[in-house]
Symmetry: C2
Subunit: 131 residues, 2 copies
């Protein structure tokens, strides 16, 4: 991690590394990153709260998955609380396919009110970019 | 506009129609949608405030441009003030090219403090998705 980067960029980049490592190894463990008012829009379908979101993610019909991050852009927001927008573009390798699918994903991270160094996913929007 | 849609979806969809219509007809007129603390990350390059942002957008090296929206996902945020995240995936036709470029763009809209029905662009992140 490059300490000359702004804090929100360090947080955002560390978050996506952790998020996709967890997703690709055991996506049922993503629950602690979401809360009851977290929102996921996955290919246009809407899910609210930990149970719906993790239910959707674990039901996705593949056994093996690998996210490759191509770009990761971060911006802070001047709201209360102040959050971090993280915008990822990358490749998705599913099961034994040799042809990566391109995806885009936008996360909005908010700090934990009792532990501001810890962030959770308030908003999550995912789309595959068909070629 | 479908009145059964939630308000944030109506606002987000109307915003992107207005934004890309303005961009494609006369992008120097995008200024009023941004403010001094607006942020743009365009293909990884960072711009802050109306002057830098509109300066970048008007300097883009094409004469004709057309954004085609393929998907537009919106989510509200439970911050103060409450904003709207808008996540667009689409095609970009530049000058006389017949080959659309795929793009993804994420906007974070905040309400005007004196006119809450009016929104401005606090955050804007844009990426081309090369095939």
């Amino acid at each position: 991690m490059n300490s000359s980067k702004p804090q929100w960029e360090q947080v955002g980049e560390a978050f996506v590394q952790h998020y996709y490592n967890t997703f690709d190894s055991s996506r049922s463990n993503l629950g602690p990153l979401y809360r009851e008012n977290s929102m996921l829009t996955f290919e246009g379908e809407k899910y609210l709260g930990v149970q719906q979101i993790v239910g959707k993610l674990t039901a996705l019909p593949f056994q093996k998955v690998q996210h490759q991050i191509v770009t990761c852009d971060c911006q802070p927001t001047q709201t209360q609380p102040s959050g971090i927008l993280v915008f990822v573009n990358g490749n998705l390798l599913v099961d034994d396919s040799q042809n990566p699918l391109k995806f885009s994903q936008c996360f909005y991270l908010l700090p934990d009110s009792t532990n501001p160094a810890s962030y959770w996913v308030h908003n999550d929007m995912f789309r595959l970019n068909y070629g």
